[in-house]
Symmetry: C2
């Protein structure tokens, strides 16, 4: 059977080398492959070829820029590191070596929304929209598409599948409802509260009848928290000398639930303010990712005196609950009960700046990169 | 009705003043009241008068030597602090002010075993043996004896009710079985493993079919762990430069369960070695109690990457399970399946040295003070 052989170039974002400290835009390069055949390669009979539409910038990606072993995610494969050039990532991407379709350089991978151009897998067909792990490039071959989610609801912004309807949404849902087990009237604190996850946690807390305070790093974000997301109170942590004092001001009765996105000094201050039988959902520690050695947390004795449970989690362990989450969240979006703010950057070439911008808080809301709109 | 009025003296251990840093023997004084009437005072109709037999030295008592507010235990009332002289402790002891029976100075309080001399409470009668909160003195009036446990099994050493059959036993039981939820074949690490709690946790772990390693601070204790308590391995943490390396040596597969008794550097090293879905039962942090500022713990990011649950607890929340514990532990003691080592010091006058000895690890096993044997 004769197939159309479309010859294209493929722009990719490659990590130059492992990063120490704060990542820079120049740690990544944009590379254009000379020619690729836009078809599934031989021997990839279960894979799908996709066109990437929206890419998700997420803080955990910083960990993949470091050479790590035994973490829950593999390091990215840096372009300059020849010893690692042939290593396959554990994610569902294969940068195929056959057919000269893709270069041996491996792009950064991450969550994204894509359109299926060709499918060798029974679950997917040409034209399907999916979200899940893909490459930071225009076209990707996804070798094990079982890990992808087919997008069924298209009457919401497609980019939402990098955020409220994707990994961050599920993170907020699992981390708040399952890990924190909130009760009406409880006192909830969310750090990085205007981010992709935090803005949802705050709104879920209000839906649960909790009192919720968020911290963020600019006046604009603090205003969003109070006026757009309905937090009871919010503060700019960068303007506070004494985090313990500000928490005591907003939580004179103490904190029942802390949704941890930042770590370090903030966690230490929160520990001093936890209530009896408090819960800390440890979702992320963005303040620590660029440090070679984490900041010391000194107030862990509170875990005993206040019988606190501190629970780390990884959302991908919980994806079997995604249909249940969709059932809850889709009506809330359509009714306008839940708001979601995105910070959308146009063009793959702007993805590195968008990604590193997360670590200085440049983004307002969920950081998305548009590769193509359809 | 005429009652016998026995006139005695009453030796008491008084905390001189709040302690900063490492406690010294001289922070406590032995005081002998001139005369007391050995009877329940007027207006104490629900109380009991007891003769103290065995006193328990426990690490948490260090926290009560510091002026604290909002902790789960009140500070002791220091003798030299006039502003605090009249404050009643929240524990079940009243140093009665009526009848000149007891001085206004308040002794240290803690767990102990005692004999009831006179009872105004329906649950207790003269001659009963009890364990629970009492005073560091020869005779105590316990105003709210509902918190005391009546001793039913006397065919075991009475001093065991300060240890394996008292608070430390329940701590090991709840902290290991309930908080850690052990499964057969799991890898368990116990710090301060020869102490009142640790020696039991190790033996419970073996009964549960786990592999268990303990750390302690002398060769003698390490030998006890391996030869008396049946730990699979044990090491002297004072002889190790690199705690991470030693844990990797004993746990090449990582640690499923950490029973935390020490905090600080050890916790930091353990975090680097936790396995997926690991549990940390936060029972105590003895290495931190004498520090004005806790050591910084830098590796909390592992809570996320390994989905670790870290849970603090206070045993007194769980005392309703004591009968169930006794049902399990009494036969194990009688069959010789479980061993328990005590470090017994004679005489109330030696109690201060025994208590502060905990913080340099002088005790081998559960530290008990004998006030009287019957």
């Amino acid at each position: 059977m004769e197939q159309e052989q479309q010859v294209m170039s493929n722009k990719q974002i490659i990590l130059k080398d492992y990063v120490v400290g704060f990542p820079k835009e120049s740690d990544m390069i944009l590379k254009t492959s000379e020619t690729i055949n836009l078809k599934l390669p031989q021997g990839c009979s279960n894979g799908v070829l996709v066109k990437n539409l929206y890419l998700s910038c997420d803080p955990y990606m910083r960990m993949r820029m470091t050479r790590t072993e035994g973490s829950y995610v593999d390091s990215f494969t840096p372009g300059s590191s020849t010893s690692h050039r042939l290593k396959l990532t554990v994610v569902t991407i294969v940068e195929a070596v056959s057919d000269l379709i893709f270069a041996t350089l491996q792009p950064i991978t991450g969550y994204g929304v894509a359109k299926v151009l060709e499918s060798g897998h029974a679950n997917f067909k040409k034209g399907d929209l999916i979200w899940g792990f893909t490459g930071w490039e225009e076209y990707s071959i996804i070798n094990a598409p079982e890990g992808l989610f087919k997008i069924e609801h298209t009457d919401v912004p497609l980019s939402y599948y990098t955020g409220i309807l994707g990994m961050p949404g599920m993170t907020a849902y699992i981390g708040f409802y399952d890990i924190c087990a909130p009760k009406k009237g409880e006192y909830v604190f969310v750090s990085a509260a205007s981010g992709a996850v935090g803005q949802l946690v705050g709104q879920f807390a209000k839906l649960s009848g909790c009192y919720v305070v968020g911290s963020a790093g600019t006046k604009e974000k603090v205003d969003l928290l109070k006026n757009k997301f309905g937090f009871d109170e919010a503060f700019n942590y960068k303007e506070e000398q004494d985090l313990d004092a500000v928490l005591k001001r907003y939580f004179p009765e103490g904190i029942d639930i802390y949704f941890e996105n930042v770590g370090g000094k903030m966690l230490d201050a929160v520990l001093l303010n936890m209530r009896l039988n408090g819960r800390i959902s440890v979702c992320g520690m963005i303040s620590q990712y660029n440090l070679e050695q984490g900041e010391g947390v000194r107030n862990l004795l509170t875990l005993i005196t206040k019988r606190v449970r501190m629970q780390g989690f990884i959302v991908s362990d919980h994806y079997h609950k995604y249909p249940k989450y969709l059932e809850m969240i889709i009506p809330l979006i359509k009714q306008g009960t839940i708001n979601y703010i995105e910070d959308i950057v146009e063009g793959l070439e702007n993805a590195p700046a968008a990604l590193i911008g997360l670590f200085s808080g440049n983004n307002v809301g969920k950081q998305v990169v548009v590769v193509a709109r359809e």
